[in-house]
Each structure stands twice: as C-alpha cells, then as structure tokens.
C-alpha cells in the first residue's frame, strides 16, 4: 500500500485499523498525521450537535400557528407548571411561567370565545389557572430588587390590569353570551401578560 492507496482506503475504513493500513501507517508519518487529523475532526464534529440556540421568535411563530390551527386547546383543569420550562436570563426564569400562565388563560378564553354557550365555564377555568402560576407580590418584589425606581410604575399598572380583569370577568358573568365581554376578558389577561413580558424583556435594565 502506498500513500495514495492509503488515502483511498480511508473511504471504507476510516480509522486506519485494517492490517494493510496499519502496516503503511507505522512506516509513514505523513499518513498517520492525516489519519490523526481526520480522527480529531470526527471527534469534534459531535460537539456541533445541538450547539446553537434559535431566537425566541421561532417559538413565538410556532405558538401563533398552533393557536390558529386549533392544535392548542383549552385544558379541563389547571396543571402545575412542567419542570423544564426554561428561561434564559436571571430572574426572568421565575417570571416566564408566570407570564405563560397568564397567556394560557388568555388562550383558553380566545378559544372559548368562539363557543358562546361554553362561556360560562371559562371563567371558573381561567381563574385558578391564573392563580396557580403567579403571585403579584413576588412579581413586584422582584421588580423592586432589580430596578427600584420602576416599582411604582409597575405597581400602578398591575393594579389597573387587575381591575380590568375583574371588571371584564363580571361582565362575562353578567352575560355569558356576550362575545365582546369575553373578548375584553381576554384583552385584560393579555395586558397583564404584557406587563410581565415587558418586565422580563431583555432590553429592561
């Protein structure tokens, strides 16, 4: 076996372990260098697996389509947050499930809004789902810890968003067939979710 034949033989036997290959390699530093380098490329290649992170927009678009296509549907009972819910930065780790809980409630409403006769049920579903995921006081404390000067702004907006939810909810209670009331309740939840999202946004100091 000469050098050219060795290189060709690597197509079938990449690690140079056949008897003929070994015979050549033991006598040829150039070819054993080549085999060593290919081996090191192969070993490093595995590290490229799963090595890049997609931008958050990817999930946002997926979720939007899932909702549009009705693949995401309302849940009969509120569930505890699944463990591997991940957030990327600092205290936002804690906030992500909270904001998601709010959005989940909004999603429930969005779906239910199209089914007027089930509107009555939705209120009783949404409220505990919301309570399970978040605590306003924790939220405000985190804001105060991160950027004390922003606390009053968030506190004020949070109070107003909660009033919005309360009012919209009683409007739904008054007339479960009122599609606009259901819509308002969804808007109200989304406003609150937005408050959480802005707080965890990466452009926030």
């Amino acid at each position: 076996m000469n050098c050219i034949e060795l290189e060709e033989s690597l197509v079938e036997s990449e690690d140079g372990s056949s008897r003929e290959q070994r015979a050549h390699l033991s006598a040829c530093p150039a070819c054993s260098g080549l085999v060593e380098e290919l081996r090191s490329i192969i070993a490093t290649a595995v590290e490229l697996r799963g090595s890049a992170e997609p931008s958050p927009q990817v999930w946002n678009s997926i979720e939007m389509v899932l909702r549009q296509e009705g693949l995401i549907r309302p849940q009969p009972t509120p569930r505890p947050a699944l463990s591997s819910f991940s957030a990327r930065w600092g205290w936002a780790r804690w906030l992500a499930p909270a904001a998601a809980a709010v959005l989940l409630s909004a999603g429930i409403l969005l779906y239910r809004a199209s089914v007027a006769d089930k509107l009555a049920q939705q209120v009783s579903v949404a409220a505990p789902a919301l309570d399970a995921g978040m605590d306003d006081n924790d939220f405000l404390q985190e804001i105060a810890a991160q950027s004390p000067q922003l606390r009053p702004v968030y506190e004020d907006n949070l109070r107003r968003a909660n009033e919005y939810i309360r009012d919209a909810q009683s409007a739904v209670n008054e007339d479960p067939n009122d599609a606009e009331a259901a819509r308002s309740l969804m808007d109200a939840y989304q406003q609150k979710a937005m408050l959480f999202n802005i707080a965890m946004d990466r452009s926030l100091p």
């Binding site: 090595s51 991940s86 922003l150 702004v153 007339d175 808007d187 406003q191 990466r202 452009s203």
Partner: protein, 309 residues
C-alpha cells in the same frame, strides 16, 4: 437533572455568544473595516458608525436599554447605523447574518440610565422589517413599507408614513403616535400610555389599553376591522360624515356621545341604553368597515370632522 441540563445549556449559550463576538464572519470583518470611530466632543462620548450591505426584505433589529432609536429609509440596499455612546460603560454589539442585522447595546458593569445611554440613527432599505426595543426610548420609525415592531416600557413611540405592513407596538406607559399608516395591519398594546392614531387604516387596526386614552382621527377606511378598547381610558374618534362603517360603541360605566347620525341596528349583542352605548351603521352599509369601541370606565365620543380641516 433538569438543573444540570439548564446549566449545560447555559454553558453552551455562553459558548455561542463568545463565538458571535470572537469568530467574526468575513462580512463582519468588512463591516469593522468600514466602521468609523469618531471621538465625540465630550471625553467619554463617542460616535460609531456601521455599514451593512443587505438584500431586499432585510431584517434589522436594535435592542437598546437606554436611549433613542430613529429609523429612516436608506437610499440603496444598505443599513447604516450611527450610534452615539454616552460613556465607555456601554458597547455596541453588531452582527450580520445573511439578510439580518442585529444591533445591541451591551451594558457594562456599573452602567446606569445616563452612562448606559446610546442614541441610534438607523437607515434601512424601505422594505426592511424593523424591530426596535428600548426601555426609555424614544422610538421613531418613518417612511417604510416593511413590518415594524416597536417595544418599550416608558418609551414614547412614533411611527409615520408606513404602508402595506404590520405595525406592532407594545408599551407600558409611553405615549404612542401613529401617523399616516396605509393598508396596515396595526396592533397597539399599551397599559397606560396614550395612543393617538391619525390617518391610520387597513384590514386590521386594533388598540388595547388598560388605562390609556385612545384617540382616532381618520375615516375607518379599507373595509377593515377597527377595535379600540380600553378599561379606564377615554376613546375619541373623529371621522368625516361620509364614513362608511358598522359601528358599535359601549362604555360600561362611562358615557357615550355621538355627533353623527347612525342607522340603528337592533340585532346587537348588548342592550342599547342611551348614553352608555350605541350601535348602528353609517354611510353605505356595503363594503364598510367594522368598528368596535369599548371601555369600562372611560367616555366614548364619536365626533364629526369638520370638512374645513
């Protein structure tokens, strides 16, 4: 196990980040070569400029915790970013990946709203889609026909002369002004900032606010869906008499005034009580827009625009 995986992911993410800044692509090398660094008048203030060549429908995003972002159209297929950095406590990270340009102000330890401030002026091809984030703002985008997404917390947001595009705005309490948006898909979410839309129309124009006032001056055109809703803010729409729309307005606890004669519609979803609600059509009912105005505690006023204006 979950925590371990998180840790591993974070390490990998950190790797990726260092990759982004250390291993620069050929293109980035070019950008840095063109990049001009001019010493500012103040000792700590500096100006940086970056140029990127992009194709049609490029994506440009600017993340800037503190400071303004102005976006205007560029003459050709280039993105030009001029940044004024207010101190050396903040850096500008830039990255181009294919047709996408990402700019981010990177705060260094000890940076605050003054020393961390960066003011950007960004020129983009008019068909680029633009995403701007700033906590303090202001944010401004004009004369574009690509999608525009602006998010701020206290930032005032101003968008003008945009057509055939999605305009998405989210703010905590900054004032939002949209001026001359044609054939838009407009969604504005504001917790407590005031929202003013002038000459805005399109298939969807939606404003949701918790306590901000909403002001619409225009004609509800394009047979679109217009929803202006607030919990405790006032809603005022000023429209010409010839407007053609299906209008329903309701304030749960506030008042509703209309200066424009409506043909009443009785098959409506809420009880019509004078003073708190009205519903009806105006103009030619065919090819008209749907308009929903709704507030819980605010006032609603549908005004006739004097033709002299």
């Amino acid at each position: 196990m979950g925590a371990l995986r998180d840790l591993r992911q974070e390490t990998m993410a950190a790797h990726d980040k260092s990759w982004g800044s250390r291993m620069v692509s050929k293109r980035t090398v070019k950008v840095i070569a063109i990049g001009v660094i001019v010493a500012g008048t103040l000792a700590a203030e500096s100006k940086k400029e970056y140029h990127f060549a992009v194709g049609s429908k490029a994506g440009v995003s600017v993340m800037n915790p503190y400071g303004s972002i102005w976006v205007r159209p560029s003459l050709n297929n280039t993105v030009v970013v001029s940044a004024i950095l207010h101190s050396d406590k903040v850096e500008v990270d830039n990255n181009q990946s294919g047709n996408r340009v990402d700019i981010q102000s990177h705060l260094l330890p000890g940076a605050d709203s003054e020393s961390g401030r960066v003011d950007y002026e960004v020129l983009v091809p008019a068909d680029a889609s633009v995403t701007l984030h700033s906590s303090s703002g202001p944010l401004h985008a004009e004369k574009l026909h690509g999608d525009v997404t602006l998010e701020g917390s206290t930032a005032t947001i101003d968008v003008r002369d945009v057509s055939n595009a999605h305009v998405h705005v989210k703010t905590l309490n900054g004032a939002v002004t949209l001026n001359n948006v044609q054939n838009g898909h407009v969604e504005v979410d504001s917790l407590s900032g005031e929202v003013t839309l002038t000459g805005v129309n399109g298939p969807l124009v939606q404003v949701v606010s918790t306590s901000g006032n909403i002001n619409y001056i225009g004609d509800f055109g394009d047979s679109g869906e217009y929803r202006l809703t607030s919990h405790s803010g006032d809603i005022e729409a000023t429209i010409p008499e010839w407007t053609s729309a299906d209008v329903s307005a309701r304030s749960v606890r506030g008042e509703v005034h209309d200066d424009i004669p409506l043909q009443p519609k009785f098959h409506t979803w809420f009880p019509i009580r004078a003073g708190v609600a009205f519903a009806g059509t105006m103009g030619r009912a065919a090819a008209s827009s749907t308009v929903v105005l709704r507030t819980f505690n605010g006032k609603i006023h549908l005004r006739k625009r004097s033709e002299k204006q």
